[in-house]
């Protein structure tokens, strides 16, 4: 058996372990201020403040004044770490109010690009009304990129002047009531997308389910996959619908209340279907998209 050589011990080493002693340990040294930690501490307390009726805007204001606004990266980190609060009662409702103030503070501080990963939040993500009616003009336009939002519902309601990129699929009710906003979904979309939107653009790289663009006005829907829609463009006014793939399933294009919409497709089957089923006399126009990208009107 292999032998190892031991060094000679000092007297102190020889004695150590033979006497009973309680040894104090040093305190962990913390250097610098971690803004995210501070925000998390206040957010945790906010669950109590909320029940006592404290105004979230005042708390967030104090926080920004003392700690400073979070950068885009810090905001993402803050959101991720907030998962630890998900056991709190009414987590999504309470935390979304706080988070809304946090990222609006960041926007005011000049951070206009955010990226959020919603993995692990499920339907409890705090993004339902987070950007609703907040940006008032073009100068406040903000870009948000989302990942892992597929099972979220009613994501981003009432957004103004917002550019949204979704890496992956979106759930039901995405982009309800959007204004002057751009949405690019790099996956599939569930139903009720872009309902009641105005002057907004929705690009869907994948397929889309039923009922989208309901009650929209002056919006543009570029649907690059297949569309299995009931009530496509119902009550839509002055909106444009480009369908890149097929129209499949049982659907009902437009209705008596839809007006002046444009329908574009490079797909002859879609054009034929639209020609046969679209309600005419409402100012709708149908265009064939040619290979060079130009449009050729084919309306009757």
């Amino acid at each position: 058996m292999k032998k190892i050589k031991l060094k000679k011990k000092s007297l102190e080493d020889s004695l150590s372990g033979h006497t009973t002693q309680v040894e104090e340990r040093k305190v962990i040294e913390v250097v610098g201020n971690n803004k995210v930690t501070e925000y998390l501490r206040v957010a945790e307390e906010y669950f109590d403040y909320f029940k006592r009726g404290f105004k979230v805007s005042l708390i967030a204001f104090q926080l920004r004044e003392t700690v400073g606004a979070l950068t885009s990266e810090e905001a993402a980190l803050f959101l991720d770490a907030s998962k630890v609060f998900m056991d709190e009662r009414n987590y999504a409702e309470i935390f979304s109010g706080f988070f809304k103030e946090v990222i609006h503070g960041s926007r005011d501080a000049g951070y206009r690009e955010f990226e959020f990963d919603l993995q692990g939040f499920g339907q409890h993500n705090p993004f339902g009304n987070i950007w609703g009616n907040v940006n008032n003009d073009e100068s406040e336009r903000t870009k948000i990129t989302f990942r892992n939002v597929s099972n979220s519902i009613n994501l981003l309601r009432g957004c103004h002047y917002l550019d949204v990129v979704v890496k992956g699929d979106v759930g039901y009710g995405f982009g309800f009531g959007a204004k002057n906003s751009l949405h690019h979904i790099e996956g599939n979309a569930e139903g009720a997308m872009g309902n009641s939107s105005s002057q907004s653009k929705f690009i869907v790289d994948g397929n889309i389910d039923y009922s989208f663009g309901y009650n929209s006005s002056q919006s543009y829907f570029d649907l690059r996959g297949n569309v299995s829609s009931h009530y496509l463009a119902k009550q839509a006014k002055d909106s444009t619908f480009r369908i890149g793939g097929d129209l499949v399933g049982d659907y009902w294009v437009g209705d008596f209340n839809a007006q002046n919409c444009k329908f574009i497709s490079p797909n002859e089957n879609v054009i034929e279907y639209l020609l046969n089923h679209l309600f005419f006399g409402h100012g709708h126009k149908i265009y064939r998209e040619l290979e060079d990208g130009k449009l050729q009107e084919v309306s009757k």
Binding site: I4, E23, V27, V30, N34
Partner: protein, 636 residues
């Protein structure tokens, strides 16, 4: 200079280290192995509480890490036993962090968790001046090992060149993006002792300063710190991953112990390293502290990690009742596992009460010759004039008979649960269902039968039974309708309990149609017995005994349409039975219920699960008869 084997040294080191840890319940033995495949260094086995150490790694530390053997072995042993003493100690923490890591760190989840566990284990040790010296020296030696990392083999260099990578640059980058060095550097900052890490790289320093902003000693911020820590080092892990071509990742890099996947001290601790019993305990701990959604996510994570099922759902009973298919009652049997586990973490004290039961009584009847081996207490010395004469003295023959007597027993439980639309759906974590499970489980464990009434506008009944799973099923079922407790039906139910000679009685029945169907199946005499009844409670004879044998529980949010009728019913029961009302999520109505001055009725407001802790059922002094004596049917 003494020459000694690692085994001999281990016999000296193990008790010394355990003494420094104040002798935890770990056998002082280090399991030395020539080489630990797939791990390389050392690990603590939570199933056996043994530490396994690779002698090859020890030799490396001595040879290249310039450590003396005693310090190397003591340092490793302290680190490994630290997992038992300091962190994670048990698997609940690991499960919880594991499921968080999975959603936050994706493919890096295991690495982040492993580094976190090592950091939390090491910090309390290295910050101690004397006893932490071995661990500090270990990391100093380990850093030297990384510095002296051997170059790639010729074959590996060729693979790298094929991928247009310069082997020297790759090795340099691997060292640059080493989490091990980053953490050793962090220890260096904390201990103010030179552990040999001197890196001026801006990126490295930025990461170090990020770690320095976290207070890892703040246990109240443990979870938040974990996520921030993971986010800070995930960036490094990602960069590190992109250095090597895919064919050389996952150990293919083979550039020695320090540069492969995993942490300084061997493999990451997995949930699978714990016994099923330890995992069950861990899940119990989580279910008690977290909400339902969180518990289910953690359980799913654990089941994915171990490939095992950890539901505690009891086996399905074979009993059949009248079908509920036509009713609106929605069964939620898949929720039983959750509530069963959660209820198991709640204790409860049930006061016994005097109830009429069949008891056995012994009396002497005749005699026979006493034989060797017979109970001496049966010997009758008077049969031989006070002397004991072998083969002559006789013994008494004891006979047993049954008698009805009033004895202190735990009564059966009758749990009346409100499952109207205003109550929380059992799927969302219901305090009402939890209360029902706690009651059912504790009465059942005390040998009593458990019956249930699940009401909304319609009512479903479960006769008192020892089939606990049937009871659980009834507790989880949900009507989701209006709220009216059908008192005549409750009375019928109690009478049916009293007439337990109805052998063909179904396990439960619900709607009017099903009830009529049930009646139709009975003989005309029995039908008459069930249908012709006075709505006033007739507390005589067998019915009274039945009520006495039952503790009644009403679990409701209080919004009952016919509340006056319910109060009247409870009042009329007060002389013979103990009533408890669990008022769920409606403490504002507590005053109304208490002002109704219900005699012999305990009202417990439940707003949160913790309100169900430490329950005691039955105020004994209030049910003992006035003359301070137990009324006995035997002695009249």
């Amino acid at each position: 200079m003494t020459e000694i084997t690692w085994e001999e040294l281990a016999k000296v080191i193990a008790p010394r280290v355990l003494h420094e840890f104040y002798n935890p319940l770990v056998y002082p033995h280090i399991k030395l192995e020539d080489k630990i495949e797939g791990i390389g260094t050392a690990y603590f086995d939570f199933k056996t509480n043994e530490t396994h150490v690779s002698k090859e790694f020890l030799d490396q530390l001595v040879e290249h890490g310039e450590m003396d053997p005693e310090t190397a072995l003591a340092g490793i042993y302290k680190h490994e036993v630290g997992h038992y003493v300091h962190y994670p100690r048990e698997c609940a923490e690991l499960m919880f962090l594991g499921h968080l890591a999975e959603s936050s760190f994706g493919e890096y989840a295991k690495d982040v968790l492993a580094y976190w566990v090592d950091l939390k284990d090491n910090l309390p040790q290295i910050l101690k001046e004397k006893t932490g010296k071995d661990v500090r020296e270990l990391y100093k030696g380990f850093n030297l090992l990384i510095e002296k990392e051997e170059d790639f083999t010729e074959k590996q260099k060729e693979v790298l060149r094929q991928h247009s990578k310069d082997p020297e640059q790759v090795m340099e980058d691997l060292k640059r993006y080493s989490i091990d060095r980053l953490l050793i550097s962090y220890y260096q900052e904390q201990t103010k002792e030179d552990l040999g890490v001197h890196v001026d790289d801006e990126y490295f320093q930025e990461k170090l300063s990020q770690l320095m902003t976290l207070d890892f000693g703040d246990e109240s911020a443990n979870l938040q710190n974990f996520i921030l820590f993971g986010n800070y080092i995930m960036d490094v892990l990602e960069k590190r991953k992109n250095i090597l071509p895919k064919s050389m990742q996952n150990g293919g890099g083979g550039s020695g112990s320090g540069q492969g996947e995993g942490t300084v001290m061997g493999r990451p601790i997995n949930i699978g390293d714990f016994t099923d019993e330890q995992i069950e305990d861990g899940l119990d701990s989580i279910i008690r502290g977290k909400n339902k959604g969180r518990y289910e996510r953690v359980k799913e994570y654990v089941e994915r990690q171990t490939g095992k099922n950890f539901d505690r759902t009891p086996p399905k009973s074979k009993g059949k009742g009248i079908g509920l298919g036509s009713s609106d009652l929605k069964n939620n049997d898949d929720q039983i596992g959750y509530y069963e586990r959660l209820a198991a973490t709640y204790g409860m004290f049930i006061h016994k009460k005097p109830i009429v039961v069949d008891s056995t009584d012994s009396f002497p009847e005749g005699s026979e010759r006493f034989r060797v081996g017979d109970a001496i207490k049966t010997l009758d010395p008077f049969s031989t004039g006070g002397r004991i004469l072998p083969s002559i003295t006789r013994r008494k023959k004891l006979k047993q008979s049954h008698k009805r007597d009033r004895l202190y027993k735990v009564p059966n439980a009758n749990v009346i649960i409100d499952s109207s639309g205003s109550m929380e759906d059992p799927r969302n974590g219901s305090n009402a269902v939890l209360a029902g499970f706690i009651l059912g489980r504790n009465y059942h464990n005390n040998g009593a039968k458990v019956g249930a009434v699940n009401f909304s506008v319609d009512t479903a009944f479960l006769m008192p039974t020892r089939e606990l799973n049937d009871f659980y099923s009834m507790m989880c079922a949900f009507w989701n309708g209006g709220t009216a407790l059908n008192i005549p039906k409750i009375k019928e139910y109690m009478e049916r309990v009293a007439h337990s000679d109805v052998r063909d009685m179904p396990r439960y029945f619900t709607t009017e149609q099903e009830y009529e169907h049930f009646l139709g199946s009975l003989s005309p005499e029995k039908q008459k017995e069930f249908v012709d009844k006075d709505l006033e409670l007739n507390l005589r004879g067998r019915i009274k005994e039945t009520y006495e044998k039952v503790d009644n529980f009403l679990i409701t949010d209080g919004g009952i349409a016919n509340i006056d009728e319910v109060v009247g019913y409870l009042n009329s029961l007060a002389d013979v039975t103990r009533n408890t009302i669990f008022l769920i999520d409606n403490s504002s109505d507590y005053k109304i219920w208490t002002e109704a001055t219900l005699p012999n009725t305990q009202i417990i407001p439940v707003d949160k699960p913790t309100d169900l802790r430490g329950l005691a059922v039955g105020a004994a002094r209030r049910i003992v008869p006035d003359d301070d004596k137990i009324e006995s049917t035997f002695y009249g």
